[in-house]
């Protein structure tokens, strides 16, 4: 087990590193952050000053090494650039320094600190909706298979998987927020309870595809499990059907769902970009769009880094969870 985790983790680090490298150099292909941030009316000396402060006037490989933390700091506005004792400090990701945002005038860690809890709130609500709606629908469909309710649920899941959030999101906003007035018209709200109220509609929209997937998987697994010997035995004992399903069938059928949840975690963090944009939810997704639009390189890098780590950790956790739950899977071999 340990060996497997170490192996997977080192692969993960490698993948994240390559993504970070790729994106770092892509930003320089995309354009000049100094010009984008300062605007078309900026004078040449302003641009030069900005570049000097941020170390953008250094050769790109040097900037990259400094960003990683393998070379001394080149950002002149960083307190670590020149330490009190006259030596040059390090200010890279290896030192846990994500840098300073160009457009927010704040450290990237702070900016992400604001945004991450909101995305987590949205994501956790979405997972909750996915599970509640998806599993319930899946169980009902499995127990009433081939009846009209099963057909209806499977048809609904088919539509749910097919409809992208940029279609369902605006429709939901128009119908449930603007026309019916049940939900706020996007935004984040001002108080904790208000935040949850504002999160409900985007979370539902975000949950549609996941819930539909879970429903289909759950239905298939449950139908499979219900044919197993132990279920038949339980039935033969005279156990009520509800008990059989709850105690013996569902538990076994949940296994692939656990894998799916693990795999969907990074998607919920990163994949909410479109939903956050539609609902003006100021989380990491919206931050990603904003920072790409303004070529805010430190923020883009940090977000990419986070998404990369989230994907790797999610996959790893899913594997471990499955191994822990299913004694038939032996990871060490």
């Amino acid at each position: 087990m340990m060996r497997f985790i170490v192996q997977r983790a080192s692969w993960g680090v490698l993948v994240v590193m390559s993504v970070v490298t790729l994106v770092f150099f892509l930003i320089f292909v995309a354009g000049d952050p100094a010009v984008t941030i300062l605007g078309p009316q900026a004078r040449a000396e302003q641009i030069a000053d900005f570049k000097a402060k941020k170390g953008l006037d250094q050769p790109v490989p040097e900037q990259f090494m400094s960003y990683l933390g393998l070379m001394p700091c080149i950002r002149k506005d960083s307190p670590k650039y020149l330490r009190a004792d006259g030596t040059r400090g390090f200010c890279g990701i290896l030192q846990g320094d994500l840098g300073e945002s160009y457009s927010h005038h704040e450290s990237v860690a702070n900016v992400i600190g604001y945004r991450l809890p909101r995305t987590l709130l949205l994501a956790s609500l979405a997972v909750l909706f996915e599970l509640v709606i998806g599993l319930t629908a899946g169980i009902i469909a499995a127990l009433r298979r081939n009846r009209w309710s099963d057909t209806a649920i499977m048809f609904a899941t088919f539509i749910g998987i097919s409809l992208p959030t940029y279609v369902t999101g605006p429709i939901a906003l128009l119908l449930f927020a603007f026309l019916l007035g049940w939900f706020p018209f996007g935004g984040y709200g001002v108080d904790p309870l208000d935040h949850i109220y504002h999160a409900l509609l985007p979370a539902l929209i975000l949950a549609i595809a996941g819930a539909a997937t879970y429903a289909r998987v759950m239905r298939g697994e449950l139908i499979e499990t219900l044919r197993h010997d132990h279920v038949r035995t339980a039935k033969a004992k005279g156990m009520p059907m509800s008990q059989v399903v709850l105690k013996h069938a569902i538990r076994n059928a949940l296994l692939p769902i656990v894998t799916l949840i693990g795999l969907s975690l990074p998607f919920l963090v990163g994949g909410a970009i479109i939903t956050e944009k539609i609902f003006a939810w100021p989380g990491l997704g919206l931050l990603t769009i904003e920072s790409i639009e303004s070529l805010d390189a430190p923020v883009i890098m940090a977000v990419v880094l986070m998404f990369g780590v989230a994907v790797q950790v999610g996959n790893l956790l899913a594997d471990i969870a499955v191994a822990a739950l299913d004694p038939r899977i032996r990871l060490s071999d």
Binding site: Q41, A177, F178, L179, G181, G186, A280, P282
Partner: protein
């Protein structure tokens, strides 16, 4: 393949069930279409019904685009000014009638030396948000910060008349001679020449005091623009936090010198398009909206249910076509007048119902001495336009087309409206579209732009703010000229100069009325329109009204909470009789 044994239904039964399903779906669809919700016509929420002002609550409003800065010394746009109005107080302020009132000053200043010296006494118990009492030294220090060249504030020109300011600005003097701190509570200003607009300048956000210790610490740590991100002022609201691109949050300042604000928290939302902001407002998610999008503006205007909760106020601004008086053919006053008479301004009113008023003179309607019956006023009169063309010596029109500088799509549409009008008197127009930056740079140089779309929004409510800046020959410079039509009239200059110094209000207004008439007649600008602003607020937002000077004035609002959802939202207007 079915895995479990199950009785197969016979074919007819199956077709029957499919048929029923299809029929059911059709009925459901029909029901949905018939009962599809309609957009609410009126507000969704009303107040709890309190009669007297209540304390508490959060006011949420949209800032439209992004707030530029919270440093009053740089606040020169509508949004930054609106935010600074909550965070800061100055010596002087305006009431809802546009009259000047004392704010941090205990009363209006005593004027001496023939209108050249102003002495202010400060109130007792006025404090910055950091708890420190404000003294005359703070007023003086803040003005020194504002007016130094290293600060680079756009406010400098308004205070040039204080003795010694230009020398200090250039860095030739340590201090501004004309700002004298008498004691902790007394400050005196000495001007080079009598200037009645000096008090208006002191009431601008540029002159709001900042605490020196806070500013110096911040600027040392975070650079010169740090104050704009962490403001400390003396206004009714103190700064909580500003998440860039998302929102600015303020909280009530408990130690405020005047009666405390009633709203507990203010939230300015940033980065919301007018369309989204309007939808949120109609949904009850925003409490106040300024400038809703065009469609929503028309809607709110027409809706009876919103009528008690909206206001349309002319904005103190004027739009025009500037005609370069140095370049032919507009060096000829008759051609300029011909243009002014040829333009049918009612087209603008029809194209933007409720959003503009036809302009006839430089002063907007709320600013004395505006005169709707001004004898020389500009208005559409094709016969007179043709007559002026004849007087100018072009009875058959101009042989060459005119180049009209425009700043963007909106200007182009406006210009196209008037192309036909001017063709009637034989003037062809070529449009030259440039970026706003190029426009500002090039039209500020003499003999470059023949004609240009132009406009002015007042800095403070005084006619001099329009006339001195836009038409005095002193505003002509080799570059960055504010007099962009390069209009020179010694008679007008003399009137404006004596009006600027005139202490007697009636005489002053009479002089400006004379200047107003000259400008309409000489037509360095063909005036087009005045803008009209719209505000709308939720029924539970009480005692809000647009301020004649500040427009966005949220200090006095109270919220009638908890708000109640309207049980029967009005979905359709009652049929018109």
């Amino acid at each position: 393949m079915r895995s479990t044994p199950k009785t197969e239904r016979s074919r007819p039964a199956r077709w029957l069930s499919v048929g029923i399903a299809v029929l059911g779906a059709a009925v459901l669809l029909g029901w949905v279409v018939a009962h599809f919700p309609k957009a609410p016509i009126g507000p969704r929420y009303v107040g709890a019904g309190h009669q007297s002002p209540q304390s508490g609550g959060t006011l949420v409003f949209s800032a439209g685009s992004n707030i530029h800065t919270l440093d009053p010394h740089f606040a020169y746009d509508t949004l930054s000014t609106a935010a600074c109005r909550l965070l800061y107080d100055g010596l002087l302020d305006y009431d809802y009638d546009g009259n000047m009132i004392p704010s941090l000053a205990a009363q209006l200043p005593t004027v001496s030396d023939a209108g050249r010296a102003f002495r202010f006494e400060l109130r007792n118990g006025i404090k910055f948000h950091n708890g420190r009492e404000i003294t005359a030294h703070d007023i003086s220090w803040s003005l020194h910060r504002l007016l130094s060249e290293t600060t680079g504030s756009p406010g400098y020109p308004f205070y040039k008349s204080i003795v010694g300011t230009p020398a200090y600005h250039r860095g030739e003097a340590e201090r501004i001679e004309g700002i004298r701190v008498i004691d902790d509570k007394t400050i005196e200003f000495q001007l080079d020449e009598a200037d009645q607009t000096f008090l208006n300048a002191l009431a601008m956000p540029f002159a709001y005091p900042l605490p020196k210790e806070h500013v110096e610490k911040l600027e040392a740590a975070e650079g010169p623009d740090a104050v704009g991100r962490h403001p400390v002022g003396a206004g009714p609201f103190a700064f909580s936090r500003w998440e860039r691109g998302v929102q600015v949050e303020l909280h009530r300042f408990e130690d405020y010198w005047a009666p405390q604000a009633r709203v507990e928290r203010m939230v300015f939302l940033e980065n919301i398009s007018p369309d989204v902001a309007s939808a949120r407002f109609r949904n009850g998610d925003l409490d106040v909206i300024h400038r809703p999008s065009k469609v929503n503006r028309l809607f709110i205007r027409e809706s009876k249910a919103w009528a008690p909760y909206r206001a349309e106020v002319p904005s103190p601004s004027v739009y025009a076509i500037g005609l370069n008086c140095e370049l032919p053919p507009f060096d000829n006053v008759h051609v300029r007048r011909a243009v002014a008479f040829a333009i049918d301004r009612s087209k603008l009113e029809r194209l933007n119902p409720g959003e503009v008023l036809a302009a006839s003179q430089v002063l907007p309607p709320m600013l004395a001495p505006y005169d709707p019956e001004l004898p020389t006023r500009q208005q559409f009169d094709l016969e007179r336009a043709k007559e002026e063309m004849r007087l100018a010596g072009f009875p058959d029109g101009l042989s060459e087309p005119i180049t009209l500088w425009v700043r963007g799509e909106g200007d182009v549409r406006g210009a196209q409206l008037f192309q036909q009008d001017l063709k009637e008197i034989g003037i062809e127009i070529d449009l030259k579209m440039v970026s706003f930056a190029t426009y500002l740079k090039e039209t500020g140089k003499p003999r470059v732009a023949q004609a240009a779309f132009t406009g002015w929004h007042q800095d403070f409510p005084d006619p001099s703010n329009f006339m001195d800046i836009l038409f005095h020959s002193r505003s002509i410079h080799p570059v960055n000229s504010e007099n962009r039509s390069f209009y020179r009239n010694p008679k007008l200059d003399a009137i404006l100069d004596s009006a600027r110094a005139e202490v007697d209000r009636e005489k002053r207004l009479a002089l400006y009325a004379e200047a107003n008439a000259i400008l309409a007649e000489d037509a360095p600008w063909a005036f087009l329109s005045y803008a009209v602003d719209m505000f709308a607020w939720q029924p539970y937002v009480k005692s809000f009204r647009p301020h004649p000077v500040w427009l966005n004035e949220y200090r006095n609002i109270w919220l009638d909470l908890p708000r109640k959802r309207v049980s029967q939202v009005i979905y359709e207007e009652e049929a018109a009789p």
